[in-house]
Symmetry: C2
Amino acid sequence: MLKHNTYFEGGVQSIGFERNSLRASVGVIAPGEYHFGTAAAERMTVVSGLLQAKVGELGWLNYPAGTSFEIGANSGFDVRAVGGPAAYLCEFLGA
Amino acid sequence: MLKHNTYFEGGVQSIGFERNSLRASVGVIAPGEYHFGTAAAERMTVVSGLLQAKVGELGWLNYPAGTSFEIGANSGFDVRAVGGPAAYLCEFLGA
């Protein structure tokens, strides 16, 4: 029911779950810069630490703990953790 | 740097990390009831879903997403996820 995912040689790891037919995951991003592609649209909420993300035409923006950003379907985003690992909640918004 | 932990045959899984010399983890609790012991004191913040927890002399209390509870050092708590898996941030408060 819970699924451990690892990306970029362990630099990003998450635990996936599903509730009320909505998929989500919580994970941690180690310092470094990563690119993720999206199939469904996603909302990323920073749970601990500081993420910087570049989504679409926007440049790099700061997302401290408690803030969130959304990424459209069939798209992607660049992300980096600043000052240490950062934890996030990723909610899949699409069908 | 990031460490995947699995408890109760995969019913609880987390990703551990450290920032500014403070240890923390994000994880997911599948439906069911679990007991955890503590060495250092901990703060558990519910990130998604609903947890019920029994800490010390308090009975079972509800902790919906956005709320948190603390557990003393060298102690323990019972916890259960209600209505589906729940995600949490665990911060270790002790030395």
